[in-house]
């Protein structure tokens, strides 16, 4: 076995292999795909949040020149199952039927009603206007608390309730018991506004059918080609082995493409009906209505502590907005945070309940961090409020309660075992980079002077749960699938290498990082490695990319597959060199006999020998290819400390980020440049939740922030330069010591920014500002405090 330590490639900032085609425009986005006879599909969507469909008539659309076909939900229902939800979190969960195209009733503005197929996209879009629909409006269901009230209008009348499920978790002592002995119990309500994920590439689907054999190729801008293949085969009845799913270049996902969408199923259904290739590409406005949203929770949280700042327990009561239907992991998304509310802190009691609620709004599902940003926000906000109550510096309160470096591995009150961490080191480094004491002095000075521009300082110390997920844990949580990942390494006859990975990237740089891992383990040049992904025919097995699982599960599978290749190559080299395996050294891709270095075989030579197979050890199979499937034993737990200084203009409510410093510990780093890039992107999204973004609905359930003109995705001019650094505490759970990084920035930054905004305004009597902390909200909070 090689068991090499981190070598010359891992740990190195390599510019990415995947850039070349992206910066020259030689891209393969799904919408770029052109095939002979391609038809364009357009979808009529509900203009109302909730209505009965009395009549849907597509005949006038069919009369338009260039229109090939048009279908209602009823036309498409034949042979199509309900769109799947694979995470029935409780036994008695309410699982409503979810047709790809609505049949009798629409339940959110944007719910598909009918489909037109035409020769080109302009004709298809025009023909939508000719479809006649008679609606009977039904009452919208928008407020989570009202939705649970007796006699509330129902989103799914056949279910008799808007309550989807109630999921409890009580660990440690009872919260009521620690409440008795606490000096202080604080209770707060935080609102996690709905967010629109906004991957820059809108979703797109192309289906090419092969009528003679009943085979279908589906190209999709998906994060999850393997999961989509399984589920779309189930929904449409197309035999799985005849369905090939390809995720070509995918322009971002952030969880919004961790989904199996009705549009994919209906594109398959239409291609099957017509025997012709079809394409659907989402407009951005459609994206805002029809691609799932994120967050959307009311968080009631209580924290119990002693007067000297020792935490005793936490109680969390969540209302989680499911939206109108359950998408693949809608019910489970808030539960990904259930275990994370205690954060990095030691306490005795934890009591959690989540109630899922149906509303007549776009379905929710995973958005960057999925449950964990929400959890981190609530604990880090209430820690700040507790520090104020106790008269402690917020950093000091955290210090008094966090798990110390020497206490790892540590099992949190929620039952997770954190393998390693060093919160002190990350925090010390961040405080030094930030100039904490100096900024506090400036803040005091401004407050003293009654400056109209106040300075606020926010901290957030966090851990997250990466590497989704151990399959047995998923079983216990009633998630339908496993969390393993697959990799195959093929040593080609010419000595080049193909790494086949079951993860499916959309901007994370897998081709580069997997090449680095494989190059080190095999002792081959980085340039000689190609990474194959995102095509269920080329990559038969995989669980795809989400939840910062790619490196920690998929990358480790690559490492182990490479070890298997080297083990087999060693046997062949020993045979060829007439030496004992134990006498062989393996360095930089060369097997040599200890003591006689001239007796050597490169791994490339061995690869050719195993291809020709002229002289293999008895009983050995040809080639030295190897496959490895890894099922992680545990999650990994990156952590870090983020510090934000804001200047808030108390006259206009405008918040400006003055400085942002973060020190993240993601274990061993494969490619520092890529890690930094992931952190930057995550920060932008987390800051955007804190300051800018919100899906806003009116009282009728119309999405007011329905385009990029109405929903503030921050631009370069809205964001600051970040100071990012890191500490490195290797994970003890995998041979590379890696932990994952994709979501860290998003998880940590939202509370850091809001804590800073509130910190700036506390001297004015402001105790909270609801997200996003827009100038309007900040100004109103100041005005209210002054009254």
């Amino acid at each position: 076995m090689t068991d090499q330590m981190a070598g010359p490639e891992v740990g190195r900032s390599r510019a990415r292999k995947e850039d070349a085609h992206l910066i020259t425009g030689q891209t393969n986005w799904t919408d770029n795909i052109q095939v002979s006879g391609l038809l364009h599909l357009a979808i009529l969507r509900s203009p109302m949040a909730h209505a009965r469909l009395d009549r849907v008539d597509v005949s006038a659309a069919l009369d338009r020149p260039g229109v090939i076909a048009a279908f209602t939900g009823r036309d498409l229902a034949d042979g199509m199952g309900s769109m799947p939800c694979v995470w029935p979190v409780t036994e008695d969960i309410v699982m409503p039927d979810h047709p790809a195209v609505a049949v009798d009733e629409v339940r959110y503005a944007g719910d598909p009603i009918a489909v037109v197929v035409a020769r080109d996209r302009y004709t298809a879009a025009d023909a939508l206007e000719a479809i006649e629909v008679d609606y009977t409006p039904l009452p919208p269901v928008l407020d989570l608390e009202d939705a649970l009230a007796e006699g509330a209008p129902l989103v799914h009348s056949d279910k008799g309730t808007n309550r989807c499920y109630v999921w409890p978790l009580a660990t440690g002592e009872s919260f009521d018991a620690v409440r008795e002995r606490a000096d202080l119990v604080l209770k707060r309500r935080y609102i996690q506004q709905r967010l629109i994920p906004n991957a820059m590439e809108p979703r797109a689907v192309v289906v090419t059918p092969l009528a003679a054999s009943g085979e279908y190729t589906l190209y999709s801008s998906t994060q999850v080609p393997h999961i989509a293949r399984v589920l779309l085969a189930m929904v449409t009845g197309i035999p799985e082995q005849k369905l090939r799913v390809i995720a070509p270049d995918v322009g971002g996902g952030f969880g919004s493409k961790l989904q199996v969408y009705g549009e994919e199923a209906l594109a398959l259904a239409v291609a099957r009906k017509l025997g012709r290739p079809v394409k659907w590409t989402e407009s951005r406005s459609e994206n805002y209505q029809a691609t799932h949203h994120g967050r959307g929770q009311i968080q009631d949280i209580e924290i119990a502590a002693t007067r000297d700042g020792k935490l005793l327990g936490l109680k969390v009561d969540l209302l989680a907005d499911m939206g109108a239907y359950l998408m693949i992991i809608t019910p489970g998304t808030p539960l990904l945070g259930a275990f994370m509310y205690p954060g990095i802190y030691k306490m005795d009691a934890y009591d959690f309940t989540c109630t899922g609620v149906f509303t007549t709004r776009t379905p929710t599902d995973a958005y960057r961090g999925a449950g964990r940003p929400e959890a981190t926000f609530a604990i880090e906000r209430i820690m700040d409020d507790l520090a104020v109550e106790l008269g402690l510096d917020p950093i000091e309160l955290r210090r008094r309660n966090w798990i110390r470096h020497e206490e790892f591995p540590y099992t949190s009150v929620a039952g997770l075992t954190y393998d390693s961490g060093n919160y002190e080191a990350a925090t010390e480094k961040a405080l030094a980079l930030f100039g904490y004491d100096k900024l506090r002095a400036e803040q005091a000075d401004r407050n003293e002077r009654g400056d109209t521009v106040r300075l606020g300082i926010g901290v957030s110390t966090y851990t997250e749960m990466c590497g989704l997920a151990p399959s047995r844990v998923l079983r216990d949580l009633r998630y339908a699938a496993g969390g393993w990942e697959a990799a195959t390494i093929r040593m080609l006859p010419t000595g080049k290498v193909e790494v086949v990975t079951g993860t499916s990237p959309h901007g994370q740089g897998h081709a580069t990082c997997w090449s680095q891992i494989a190059a080190d383990a095999l002792g081959v040049p980085f340039e000689d490695v190609e990474v194959v992904h995102g095509d269920t025919r080329a990559v038969p097995q995989g669980m795809d990319t989400y939840g910062s699982r790619s490196l920690v599960v998929g990358g480790i599978a690559v490492h182990h597959a490479a070890e298997k290749v080297v083990a087999k190559a060693r046997k062949v080299a020993a045979h060829l060199l007439e030496a004992s395996e134990n006498d062989l050294e393996f360095t930089n891709g060369v097997f040599s006999v200890k003591g006689s270095p001239e007796a050597r075989k490169t791994i490339q030579e061995v690869a050719f020998e195993t291809f020709s197979s002229h002289d293999l050890p008895d009983g050995m199979e040809p080639t030295i290819n190897a496959e490895h499937l890894v099922d992680p034993e545990n999650f990994s737990y990156p952590h870090g400390t983020h510090l934000c200084a804001v200047e808030v203009d108390t006259e206009t409510g405008q918040t400006r980020i003055r400085s942002y410093v973060c020190v993240d510990d993601v274990g061993k780093v494969v490619n520092p440049m890529i890690v930094e890039g992931q952190v930057h992107g995550g920060l932008a999204q987390g800051i955007a939740q804190a300051l800018y973004e919100e899906a806003v609905y009116d009282d009728e359930g119309n999405l007011l922030s329905g385009t990029m003109a109405d929903y503030l995705v921050p631009s370069a001019a809205d964001l600051p330069d970040f100071v990012t650094d890191r500490t490195e505490t290797p994970s003890t759970l995998n041979p590379l010591g890696v932990k994952g990084v994709g979501e860290a920035g998003t998880i940590a930054s939202t509370p850091a920014v809001v804590n800073a905004v509130v910190d700036a305004l506390r001297p004015l009597g402001v105790a909270d500002v609801r997200m996003p902390c827009t100038p309007q909200r900040v100004w109103e909070a100041i005005e209210e405090a002054a009254r």
């Binding site: 971002g252 385009t707 370069a716």
Partner: protein, 156 residues
Amino acid sequence: MTHISVNVDGTTYEDEVEPRLLLIHYLRDRLGLTGTPIGCDTSNCGACTVELDGESVKSCSVLAVQADGSEVTTVQGLAQDGEWTGLQKAFHEQHGLQCGYCTPGMIMAARDLLRENPHPSSDDVRQALEGNLCRCTGYQNIVRAVLAASGQEVPA
């Protein structure tokens, strides 16, 4: 239908187009020049930015007929004989892209900036790219890339 003659990335195309056809759809669907993507329908995202007679424009807000008699440069026309431009190299070296969907637009908008202001400050770059949205990079490495392409030292 209206007759147009457009030179795109050095090749002249003669076509009959509907007056309402957007330049981006003409490039992508008619000419098959799919290097320039579409990110929104409100001209907010800038992914479809190209050059029209040397000025950067969002090609979703220009009609194909308006490009009649003009020269259009897309990201596909930048590299000559396989040699990337300074901006392309800088985006690669500074990790100024992740999913890459906004990258053609970013590069085209940055070219416009550097023509007008060959030595922009970091703030200048941020202001100039305000109409181009990126969801992956947090912009910092895009700013670094543009500064590096202008020959300036890039803050670590």
